[in-house]
């Protein structure tokens, strides 16, 4: 198996060619994480700024929002850990990723043909992955520090003050990363199918992840 593919990838001939991108397990895992993240963002933002406090209404009021937010965080952490172990290998940095970054401007400007061929994930996706991973670790750590219901006694108030600041900044960042992630999925048409049906078209793969497609084809032939 080449370094650009994982197990489960299959190519289904036809018109168009259909390529398996995510297994049902991976998709379920993703959506659990995604829902958690959205709930966390909503509940977190409610506590972050008075202008969004009304969002606590979604959770049944301030007390429940406060109570439920950290528990969702725990679920997210566990769920994301699943994603991490599924995806981390193919998100390792490669030589072409630097080149891809260098041409990021072209991508935004609509000249994807000028981009280098990439594997299952391009450098942008990898940055989202690693950014999310890092931020979630920071968020869970800082979150536990300020989860006073259970952990008040373990740290000092000055530490908690720093934790709450770090938690807020990390949350802003992860929400920003999340927006990028969602936008990319919307902007790059044909992407959504990867996380809904688990499949993309061959053309999508050719256009955005050609190396991955080629490696899949090679692997298919060897089979």
């Amino acid at each position: 198996m080449s370094g650009n593919i994982d197990s489960g990838g299959r190519i289904h001939p036809g018109d168009p060619v259909v390529v398996d991108r995510y297994t049902p397990g991976a998709r379920a895992n993703h959506w659990v994480t995604a829902i958690c993240l959205i709930l966390l963002a909503l509940s977190g933002l409610a506590l972050f700024t008075p202008s969004l406090f009304f969002l606590t209404g979604l959770f049944g009021g301030g007390q429940t929002t406060r109570a439920i937010h950290p528990w969702i965080g725990v679920v997210l952490f566990l769920s994301f850990s699943g994603l991490f172990f599924r995806f981390w290998k193919l998100n390792l940095w490669k030589r072409e990723d630097g080149e891809w970054i260098a041409h990021a401007g072209d991508l935004v400007a609509g000249h994807e043909e000028r981009m280098p061929e990439v594997g299952k994930y391009n450098a942008g996706q990898k940055m989202v992955f690693w950014g999310m991973s890092l931020l979630i670790i920071v968020l869970i750590a800082s979150g536990l520090t300020i989860w006073d219901e259970y952990f008040f006694a373990y740290t000092t108030i000055p530490t908690k003050r720093i934790a709450v600041l770090v938690h807020a900044i990390s949350a802003v960042l992860i929400i920003s990363v999340w927006i990028v992630h969602v936008y990319a999925a919307i902007w790059v048409r044909g992407t959504m199918g990867a996380m809904t049906k688990g499949q993309v078209t061959g053309g999508w793969a050719w256009r955005h992840h050609r190396k991955w497609l080629k490696d899949l084809v090679t692997a298919d032939r060897q089979r």
């Binding site: 390529v19 709450v164 256009r207």
Partner: protein
């Protein structure tokens, strides 16, 4: 003796201040009242305090709270710390005065200081859960408290405590319910030595001047008033025998202020954070408008088909 407040009548009386007198309201804005109430203050004269804990007892009685029967930890501090049931505690410190060689037993009544610039209120995310009246009293509204503990982090004096029972924040209210009908706080009423006096803040400062002069005449050269300006002054003030070293009184902060971390969190972070998230979202929106969707072309499909087709 500071003239005690007369006992109230037995009939009902309308509160002298309320919602209309708010000058600050957590996580929301208020229209400042046209007329400010007289600024009040509780003055705790540490040099007159005998540490009898009558104030702790009165506080429990008036607020209908009951502290648990704890243990002895090798000191006279019971409860050992502020709790949701002990909104005030005596903190006993045995201090050897290096100048005189004499032992001094410093007994400080700890509790909410009712800052003019309250860090708890600044930190609170729940609209109206913490309010400040124009007379200076900082009060918690438990119907609105969400129990997040941000007030604990915002407070420069480490005062609020979250109840394990109802997950709400508790601290001294300066007996706002009593003050509202013209009474002093329960602790002040119970104090047998007038170590606690209550009244207009200006009067309290004048009263403190007299006490400080007395202390100076008895050799306490650095006696003074604790009304820290870092938090805009407080509505609970201390007369200290050694006002130059408040920290010897069981860690009373020297020049307290709202932590810069909290200021950063509740200030720059909030606004910048919203801006960043907004900007990122806006960028995507604008980009999509300009660049349009990134679509797979028929050519791409053909290329893929060709690549895949090679296998069959």
């Amino acid at each position: 003796m500071y003239p005690p407040l007369p006992n109230p009548g037995t009939g009902p009386s309308a509160p002298k201040f309320g919602e209309k007198d708010l000058v600050r309201r957590s996580a929301s804005t208020v229209t400042p009242p046209a007329q400010r109430q007289t600024q009040v203050a509780k003055l705790i004269d540490v040099s007159k305090c005998i540490g009898c804990k009558a104030c702790q007892s009165a506080c429990q009685e008036w607020n209908d709270l009951r502290e648990e029967v704890g243990t002895n930890d090798g000191t006279y501090n019971n409860a050992h710390d502020l709790t949701p049931a002990s909104l005030t505690v005596m903190r006993f410190t045995e201090w050897d005065n290096p100048e005189t060689g004499n032992l001094e037993w410093l007994i400080r009544k700890d509790g909410c200081m009712h800052c003019e610039d309250p860090g708890c209120l600044k930190s609170c995310p729940a609209p109206g859960a913490i309010v400040q009246y124009s007379n200076g009293i900082v009060d918690f509204d438990h119907t609105k408290c969400i129990g997040c503990g941000y007030c604990v982090k915002g407070c420069p004096f480490n005062i609020p405590r979250i109840s394990k029972v109802d997950n709400k924040a508790y601290k001294c209210t300066l007996c706002s319910d009593r003050v509202a009908v013209g009474q002093g706080p329960a602790c002040q009423k119970a104090c047998p030595t007038q170590a606690i006096v209550f009244g207009p803040k200006d009067d309290m400062k004048k009263w403190a001047d007299g006490r400080i002069a007395d202390l100076k005449s008895r050799g306490y050269k650095t006696a003074g008033l604790y009304d820290p300006q870092g938090v805009g002054g407080t509505h609970v003030m201390y007369v200290l025998q050694h006002a130059d070293k408040p920290e010897i009184y069981a860690g009373l902060p020297n020049n307290p202020r709202i932590s810069p971390v909290v200021e950063l969190w509740k200030g720059l972070t909030k606004y910048t954070g919203l801006a960043v998230m907004g900007a990122v979202a806006a960028f995507g929106f604008v980009h999509h408008m300009i660049a349009g969707p990134n679509k797979v072309s028929a050519e791409d499909e053909a290329n893929a088909s060709k690549l895949a087709g090679g296998k069959s």
